[in-house]
């Protein structure tokens, strides 16, 4: 099953890393990605630019409202998204724990579960909406 790993870090902490540590972080991340790829766990991944570059849009009565910055305020912001294939949640969690960036923050692991065949209708509302 596929799991999406959302890695959150404190951007200021990331930016203030000494050059050497920054290089090590990038290099170990590359190595780990390669390992996941060989073991056929890695599906897709993306570093995100700073949340400061984000623009958040909300529909309000009277029109759209735009705001500078991330949708959810906070010190830790989404910095890396990785899609993994794993046996079960424990397996996915152990793979996610190995992402070097997680040492600087935290990772939320969410299942992209296929609705169980006997799940009652309504249990998994709206999951098909974006599927062609």
């Amino acid at each position: 099953m596929d799991y999406i790993c959302l890695v959150y870090v404190d951007e200021n902490r990331l930016a203030s890393l000494p050059r050497g540590e920054r290089d090590t972080l990038l290099a170990t991340t590359c190595d780990y990605r390669r390992r996941l790829l060989t073991e056929q766990h890695y599906q897709w991944g993306q570093w995100l630019p700073s949340a400061r570059l984000g623009t958040t849009l909300r529909h309000r009565e009277g029109g759209l409202r735009l705001r500078d910055g991330a949708a959810v305020p906070g010190v830790e912001q989404l910095a890396l998204v990785v899609l993994l294939r794993a046996r079960d949640l424990d397996h996915a969690l152990s793979l996610a724990a190995g992402l070097p960036l997680v040492r600087l923050g935290c990772v939320e692991v969410r299942p992209l579960s296929e609705p169980s065949p006997w799940a009652r209708r309504g249990d998994v509302q709206g999951r098909e909406v974006f599927v062609d």
């Binding site: 099953m1 046996r87 079960d88 949640l89 424990d90 397996h91 969690l93 969410r110 299942p111 579960s113 609705p115 169980s116 065949p117 006997w118 799940a119 249990d123 998994v124």
Partner: protein
Amino acid sequence: MSISGHIEALYRHESRRVLATLIRLLGDFDLAEEALQDAFAAAVSQWPRDGIPDNPRAWLISAGRFKAIDRLRRRARFDASLDELALRFEQAAEMPDLDLTVEDDRLRLIFTCCHPALSEQARVALTLREVCDLTTEEIASAFLIPTPTVAQRIVRAKAKIRDARIPYRVPEKGELAERLDSVLQVIYLVFNEGYFPSSGDVPTRADLSSEALRLGRLLLSLLPEPEVGGLLALMLLTEARRAARTDAAGDPVLLDDQDRSLWDRALIAEGENLVEQALRSRRFGPYSLQAAIAAVHAEAASPEQTDWAQIVGLYDVLLRAAPSPVIALNRAVAVAMRDGPQAGLALVDGLLDAGELRHYYLAQAARADLCRRLGRVAEARDAYRAALALCQQGPQRVFLEKRLAALANEKNVSAAVESPRS
């Protein structure tokens, strides 16, 4: 015994085992529960005619599995994907020797219900429902929360187990300690809610505590780890004092004032034995240490004969193993018994100043008691009032109010003249 009596007894003793195995075979809690009910219904209708099978448990598991396949087949008329699933269950290799795997399945069920990816409340509700077979209504009334709240917690937990694919397995060696912690925490939480209810008007709820003891014994039989024995010992040694813990009016009695002849010697002996085993293993943790402290209390024929030096020493080890302000508070109270109230009060005030215990009524109650013993009546009164403002539990409030009222008869005496209790 009549056949229906036999089936009833079987349900009581075997239904959780059968359920645990069906969950593994079918991979779904709800489907397994339906299959369990179907299997017992089949027993009720077939056994009077055909006789009781040689291995009733295996019969029930097998019947449950076929009933689940039937259900999937019937539903497959509306959903073709179920047909394939039913076929898969049918073709699955014949079940291996059931008696060998069935106890593993019980352990799997416990670890899945107590998985740390579930919230603490969900773990407690799911474990009581699936492992202990308490009804949703029973869980709700034990924890004084509405039934729909419990039902929703259970439904959501099962949905997460299914949709996030929380595995049905016993953790491997490397992760066992951490995962076992989560299981022990659930059991201790159930016990504590029975022994020190967080709210409501009854001082203890024996039903929840006995459920926790049953769980502890089951877990120890399935997984004989030292900390499991330590937790069971702690619960037994605490449970042993239940009869002495409340007076005739149902009000709480402090440890020092309890009638020790009411303590249950059989439970104490069983607990002491388990503590010794855990400590000897040298792989013990916080539960074994707390059990060791309870055992020191249990050994003393009177409060005066308590080995307070040993208790303080055990608290020192415990604080290093599991630092927490509540344990630091308990240590402070033990220091007060060993070195006198002045020494204890200094520690309690330090903890209150640090802030974490500011909203913990027992910290204020401990301060009040130490001030009272030092003759600092005005400060004691303020602290009892602060404790009352924080305490939600009926009988404990009555106790604090009594203490506060008794202060009115005491005069303010100089702190310096009181000597330590020994």
